[in-house]
Amino acid sequence: MFVRLVYESFRRQKRRKLLAGVAVTLGVGVATAMIAVATDIGDKISRELRTFGANLMVIPQEDTLDLQIGGVDLRPPSDGAYLNEADLPKIRGTFWHHNIVGFSPMLPVNVALGPHGTGNVTLLGTYFSKTLTFGKEDFVTGVRITHPWWKVQGAWPDDNSQDVLLGESLAAKLGRKSGDEMAISGTPHRVSGVLSTGGQEDNQIVAPLGLAQQMLGRPGAVRRLYVSALTKPEDALARRDPKTMNAELFDRWYCSPYVQSIAYQLQEVIPHSHAEQIRQVAQNEGTVLSRIKGLMLLITLAALLASALAVSAAMATAIFERRSEVGLMRALGAGSFPVAAVFFAEASLLALIGGVVGFAGGALLAREIGRSIFDSQIKIEPVLFPIILAIAVIVTFAGSALAIRRAVKFDPVYALRGEA
């Protein structure tokens, strides 16, 4: 009898059930999409924040001071120490290598321009988009990943070529454009493009690392290394000195992607190096990230509230419309409990169906949001499914409870006479 009551109610009142069902489905869909977006937004924004460039710099441990003014390196080339280019692929072997988006070595060399060797400018050797091998794995790294704001008019040079990029201001001063040949330190090189960075590189020549090493006469030399890594916002543990930690704490510190622990690991794999966070980028990243994450969390709460209200409003309306039915059941001698049980059974059925469909729809929606805004998938944790379903059932129950109570308490006589 109970099953038949529920079944018939669904069969005969398709319109009302559809309305309530649509409300539950939409509510669950919106909640799912918002929770999925909010849980993944930190990851997505932290990737977007990488457009601010490298957040770690590695320099030789025994290096002399930088003597750079206005983009011109005044340090004599014999001065200072160098890192070894052959050590760089080892970065792929660190614990947090998945978090390292890319790295670019830099080697500034002072060169003379023109056939007569006039005019001193800095030539910066680096990787553009270089394929390196670590173990069996190939990967690509270079300034096109770590310095996304560098724009080239013309073409990026090949990393193994002798071509160079000319900084925008320097190109204007020399009257050169992409495709020209120019003599650098006596040998001719092709200018494959004009580089605009909005920084001191606008007054420099940027060349493949191999070419810079050749000009300096030091194969394998690297002056600095910029590393762009996905990090976790700094907290009290991050700021502690690893030397003062006990073994257990150290493991936790080491296995968290703090900018400090990644710097520590870079020092481990690159011999005689000193790695440090670039505070301008690393410090601000955390604040921006936590602001955006906090905002999304609060908005998700608002979304949950709105969908819970929508679901309960729809359920309340659906039940309120059926007072006469309740009156009939009560007049036929049904107690409040069986009547309420019928309604609750209907509500949970609606919640389950709406929950499953809504979850699927919400997952699709989240994926679409991720694709159109961040060009990447938004992961939906499978563990979200039972949670969402449970929330759907609870909200539907809570939304119905008040209406059911009122319907059951209503005098059957009035209800049957159609007076309300």
Partner: protein
Amino acid sequence: MSSRPVSSLAGRRENAAHTSMFLRMLVRAAVLRRGRAASALLAMVVAAAVATAMLNLYVDVEAKLRKEFRNYGANIVMVGKDGQGLPAGTLQLAESILAGRGMAVPFAYIVARTPEGQSVVVSGTDFDQVKKLDRWWAVTAWPATAGEALLGKRAAAVVNQKGEAFDLSFQGRVIHLTPAGQLETGAAEDSRVYVSMGDFQSWTGVPPSTIEIAASGSGEEVTALAQKLAQAVPSAEVRPVRQIMEGEARVLGKTRSTLLAAAVLIILTSALCVLSTLMGWVFDRRRDFAIMKALGASERLISSFFAAEAAALGAVGAVFGFVIGIGVAAWIGRANFHAPVEARFGVLPVILLGSMAVAVLSAALPMSLLRRVEPAMILRGE
């Protein structure tokens, strides 16, 4: 005496315009069914509040985040062409062009020598301004008096191993400096010694070669400002710091899009909440509908009556919701950005019209169903 009120009442009834009856029906409907009206109004208020909060946040979040992004420091750099110093008065000129919408900080650079013959870059600047511009500088103690210097972490190891006062020489002139604190940035600043602009000028006489400017505003505004500065000081190279500006534009754009998507979803859901509540409210009144129809009211009159009722509900809900929504947005601003989100009254008409439209639409749907039913059927309770 007693007949006068009656006759006047009858007279009033005859002469009264239809509007007074219309208004009375509207008010009585709300008063007599307090419970249902209250629940419909509640749905309206919540929906309008949520929509207001979301729209307010959406409009304001850009300003809030731009403020956070200014912590990344300068977004425009002015440098003298070919390594020359900037002409005197450039800083004042730049500040007058900025007109309070940002700050400009001068930097002068030279290479000095330690008594041991080591070279080190020394920079003169305005410490009070730098403190505000470059908030990421980790400084143990800022110099407070003349003759004090801020030592980059790596520079400190070279010029001042013992932590005592030290000498630096530039073109034969020597300055005696006391270390105030250490500076750590992880970038080029670590290899420099910073002194106050006054000390620097009297020691070297070298004018500032760089002015770093943190201008507030959108990307276009900053670019326009950079162009204005370039025109005002032709001997300087003015460049927007693309690293900062592009990163900022990108992160802001993504955040705004996400927020917009969330706002659309949330507003849609709350509109749904209004729809189902109001549909119930109209359905519930099918007997009123039938009686009015049986008494000979035209369908247009009844439709306009229900529409007016819904619109009134929407308008009242929108006003209350707007106030609550502003409060919610302000609270979110305070909780997340430590600054309240400003109330945007431009949002009010949008909310008002939107709420009324949703309400009328929600009433129209059940009306079209009811119109097909004979009044007799409803009155018989079927």
